[in-house]
């Protein structure tokens, strides 16, 4: 089976043209398989995660200052998420519905959605750099150590109990990393591909790159696109799982309740108290800025 479609250019060169569209189904099946396996694992085998007592060493005064509604996502972050989600769904539907037999003139809708996504991601990068806690979404040393400990404990080995999360669980951080890689790949290649279609923004120039470069660009765009099918399936699945729903709610309303915060998050790694006393010194750079 060829995972990449090849063609012979007018100059006799073998060049890639697209990914094989069978990969669309591979990605969809992979996404669905993940959620089935995960749902079975959680309901049958998984034990409730025992966190180390992260409250030790934290002043009761600090705990008392934690508000009933812990702010988690700013309005701008939520609006970005909504716009990005809508444009992403529009991109996926316009890209793949024709591939599964729903024929319509999709190209214009596709690049318009792509422009919306690109602008929203640019805004997000700017916002994250200057106004949010930029490092809070990147995995840190504690995440890696705790992930190792969680795996060891799941396999029945002795390991320290993992600590509570900072603002984002490791799974969130890894998902963000995957979306960032796939998203930037799709956006950068997509913006170049707009030079090949008629838009009000660019003068068409299909000879901007060589056939080989264009071919790999189409392959990368396609791989990112089909990758998003699995990523979106898993994201929606996680968003509607009951035990994760408080995170989903926080993306809608901007806050999570105090009980969930104290149950899942370490106040030293994600400080939300109005004023942090000296006794609760932040343990990582993640708490340097105000919560997003």
């Amino acid at each position: 089976m060829n995972l990449i479609q090849w063609a012979t250019s007018p100059w006799g060169q073998q060049v890639p043209t697209h990914i094989s569209w069978i990969l669309l189904w591979v990605s969809a099946i992979a996404g669905l398989s993940f959620l089935i396996v995960h749902a079975l694992y959680v309901s049958i085998w998984a034990k409730k995660t025992a966190h180390a007592d992260s409250s030790a060493g934290i002043s009761p005064a600090v705990v008392a200052k934690i508000p009933e509604r812990v702010p988690r996502h700013s309005l701008s972050a939520r609006l970005f998420h909504a716009i990005m989600a809508l444009s992403m769904l529009a991109l996926l539907f316009t890209a793949f519905l024709p591939k599964v037999g729903v024929q319509f003139a999709w190209v214009t809708y596709h690049w318009i959605a792509g422009i919306v996504l690109s602008i929203s991601v640019l805004y997000h990068i700017f916002d994250a750099f200057w106004f949010q806690d930029f490092w809070s979404i990147w995995p840190d040393k504690i995440d890696i150590e705790d992930a190792g400990n969680r795996v060891k404990r799941a396999m029945g080995q002795d390991a320290p109990a993992p600590r509570k999360f900072a603002k984002y669980p490791l799974e969130n951080k890894l998902y963000h990393l995957a979306v960032m890689c796939a998203g930037l790949s799709a956006i950068i290649t997509g913006l170049f591909m707009m030079k090949r279609v008629r838009t009000p923004f660019f003068e068409r120039n299909p000879y901007l790159f060589s056939d080989m470069t264009w071919g790999w660009m189409y392959v990368l765009h396609g791989l990112a696109g089909v990758g998003f099918v699995a990523l979106v399936i898993t994201h929606i699945y996680m968003a509607i799982r009951p035990e994760k729903f408080f995170i989903t709610k926080s993306m809608i309303f901007g806050w999570m309740d105090r009980e969930h915060y104290l149950e899942h998050h370490d106040p030293r790694r994600w400080s939300v108290a109005p004023e942090t006393p000296a006794s609760a010194t932040p343990a990582s750079p993640e708490s340097k800025k105000a919560p997003a």
Binding site: P10, F104, A105, W106, R196, Y207, W214, Y218
Partner: protein
């Protein structure tokens, strides 16, 4: 590059005797099968060795696909009816003379003797980059070689281009749209009847096909309702060589007059887009108006709205405008 060879690649040939058998074969072989009508488009592909089907289903022995039949509401033309038969059929000539005019404008007498009306409306694009076997969008690639600053695009689209700028080459297609014909398509799920204007699709919808026909589908007949029987018709085709060539632009119109004014009209052009274009804005604008120079001028201007010529086909814009003007005037005056 296309290279004409003496011998076409081997394939397994089937000659079914009925539509059911043909559909059964199509269903069995799916996308591996190639449906052969008159063969005038197909053999080009085969001899150039660009299309290499494993199976060819030759419809020449399916008698139910041939001939012209009167129906309670007009007539029905079998998809395998030759263009020559369409040109000379008395009932078609009497009531729907635009169709013989269009069919007679297609190709040469020898080709019309062999070519079928089903094949004429379903034929593939004639863009030489595509026919040359280059990996363009229409061939499943990711580029249009014609739509570049240096591309040879004198014959290409001025309307509705969407990555691919090839045009539909059919002469009978705009005439059938003007007659409000219905295309009868047999599919694995049953029979579909679609308006002629919806039978053709542009590259925005599916860049690799010219019509709604998918593997397994078969155009069996074309029904022409009596709605436009005996109307005032106009067909004109402009081509490089009058003896035998594809249209640069053609126009087909059916008009019903009420006194001096246009009561009803259907008008379509081809050779300007990847599908024949029904000019609904022109139709709406000229209904109720007299067949005057002013009306014709207005129609011509409306027709070319949105036209985006390429490097070498700017002449198609005034050509299309003037053909529409001439159609509205019924050819009584020079554009």
């Amino acid at each position: 590059m296309a290279v004409i060879h003496d011998v076409i690649p081997a394939f397994e040939l089937f000659q079914p005797a009925s539509v059911d058998d043909a559909l059964s074969l199509q269903s069995r072989y799916g996308a591996k099968a190639w449906v052969l009508a008159g063969g005038l488009d197909s053999f080009d592909w085969f001899k150039d060795r660009i299309k290499r089907p494993e199976v060819v289903i030759d419809l020449s022995q399916v008698k139910e696909l041939r001939g012209v039949r009167a129906t309670s509401d007009g007539l029905e033309i079998g998809a395998m009816t030759t263009l020559t038969e369409v040109v000379h059929h008395p009932m078609i000539r009497e009531k729907y003379s635009i169709l013989p005019s269009a069919a007679e404008a297609a190709a040469s007498p020898q080709i019309r003797n062999q070519g079928t009306i089903g094949g004429n409306v379903s034929q593939d694009a004639r863009c030489w980059y595509y026919r040359g076997g280059w990996p363009c969008y229409r061939a499943g690639g990711n580029i249009c070689y014609a739509d570049t600053p240096t591309g040879l695009n004198r014959e290409h689209a001025i309307l509705d281009a969407n990555r691919c700028v090839a045009v539909n080459p059919s002469d009978t297609a705009p005439a059938l749209i003007a007659l409000d014909a219905k295309m009868v398509v047999r599919t694995p799920k049953g029979e579909r009847v679609v308006d002629a204007e919806n039978y053709f699709i542009g590259p925005g919808t599916d860049i690799t096909r010219m019509t709604i026909l998918k593997p397994g589908d078969l155009l069996t007949s074309i029904k022409i309702p009596s709605t436009w029987a005996g109307s005032q018709f106009y067909f004109e085709k402009v081509r490089d060589r009058a003896v035998w060539d594809f249209a640069l632009v053609n126009v087909a119109a059916a008009m019903v007059m009420s006194g001096d004014s246009i009561q009803r009209i259907r008008i379509a052009v081809n050779g300007v887009a990847a599908h024949p274009v029904r000019l609904t804005a022109v139709e709406a604008a000229v209904v109720g108006k007299p067949c005057s120079e002013e009306t014709a001028e207005m129609a011509g201007q409306i027709a070319i709205r949105g036209a985006e010529p390429l490097q070498y086909n700017g002449y198609k814009v005034p050509l299309m405008r003037n053909l529409v003007k001439r159609a509205i005037r019924g050819g009584s005056a020079q554009a």
